[in-house]
Symmetry: C2
Subunit: 237 residues, 2 copies
């Protein structure tokens, strides 16, 4: 009988939600590149490895499928999604739509706390660039953009951004280093933040367009080079 004792601290022991945990682990494995595009995600193997049954694994896989991280092939199982150069380009087009609006909106309701957070994030990126830690830089880059989306005050938009970012990470996780010059990442973010602080919508849009345009071309080029003519693993669409 759960008396639900006084609302003291709550260690919150692992709640029974196995599905979330499995989804999380699979997501991590994908964005970290441990599960490369095209890799098969066998239910039984995952279940064995985690010491659980197949049911939660299947449900988690469905979740990731509708998030675009996995692809379900009936009677054949789940595979890590393979992104063509065109699909990557489409994702960047969507990011552009979203982040333009987010940046303008973030500027409109900019608070000192948010401005400070953005500046700190930019400092962090500069610092990481000096130390040349590619994985951490990608993460910090993502966080900077996420902060802007968060500051726009639209929860649904933030969820969308997270989804788009996850999908892009399928390929970004593969690319060792995004830019030849790590320092350049921080530099290309500076005008975006400056424009947001200045609060001129046209300039914000222009700088977001330019920044994402650079990333779009850069990633597009790298993805193109990753897929010379065809991939290694083939299956029917």
């Amino acid at each position: 009988m759960r008396a639900m004792s006084p609302p003291v601290g709550l260690p919150v022991l692992a709640e029974s939600d196995l599905v979330r945990q499995v989804a999380r682990r699979l997501t991590d494995a994908i964005v970290q590149g441990r599960l490369p595009p095209g890799a098969k995600v066998a239910e039984a193997a995952v279940a064995r490895e985690l010491g659980i049954s197949r049911a939660p694994v299947r449900e988690a896989a469905r979740l990731l499928e509708s998030q675009g991280l996995l692809r379900a092939s009936p009677r054949r199982g789940f595979f890590v999604r393979e992104l063509s150069a065109q699909e990557v380009d489409e994702l960047y087009a969507l990011r552009l739509c979203v982040e333009r609006h987010a940046a303008v909106e973030a500027a409109r309701r900019l608070t000192p706390a948010v401005r400070e957070a953005l500046r700190r994030q930019l400092d962090l990126m500069r610092d990481l660039a000096r130390r040349d830690d590619p994985a951490a830089i990608v993460e910090a880059d993502y966080q900077f953009h996420r902060l802007i989306c968060e500051a726009a005050g639209n929860a649904r938009m933030l969820r969308l951004f997270d989804g788009l970012a996850s999908e892009l990470r399928i390929v970004i996780g593969l690319i060792g280093r995004l830019y030849d010059d790590p320092q350049e990442i921080a530099r290309t973010h500076e005008p975006v933040l400056a424009a947001i602080e200045a609060g001129h919508p046209e300039r914000i849009v222009a700088h977001v367009d330019h920044h994402l345009g650079v990333a779009r071309r850069e990633v597009g080029r790298l993805v193109q080079s990753l897929t010379p003519t065809a991939r290694q693993t083939r299956e029917t669409p």
Copy 2:
């Protein structure tokens, strides 16, 4: 080496994917308003009604959850998502981002076939408005916007639009008639199509903004009136 016999017709027999079918039925029930916001979706009941086991129902429910149609409450089950006025507003803000870009892009690559399809859709809406069939008008309205997104040539964007539209239909299905004057719907679409045909980006954005702005305010007002102070069914977040 697959000789892949001569490319004769393609019967494409129906796949046995129960999960998709269940997801489809639940989606239909929700957007048609047969499952109102806050309604409980009991796995066992659905499984019994469809004559199948609970496993496919659970997986379908997960799918709809990540699409925003259902909300999962651990140990309590799935419920049809309830949208606050603010959430509806956020969805419209996202639609604005997406459809602005889609309309401009659709204009850039407008083909005679697409132009013809858009005109026919507009005619259909005018026709339905004269007959005063609210449900059909909402459907035709949705199709018009979808055609524009499709014409933009970005598959990922189309998927996003479908998702946003589904979520909005949770509430739109509740509202008997969206506009006092049905004829007005067709009229507010005309300048959008005209701007796309003319191909001036600024005018396209302006008209899309105006059209969606009207819908946003209208739906927002109706949603507000649907939720006077609190809802009937309450549960912990």
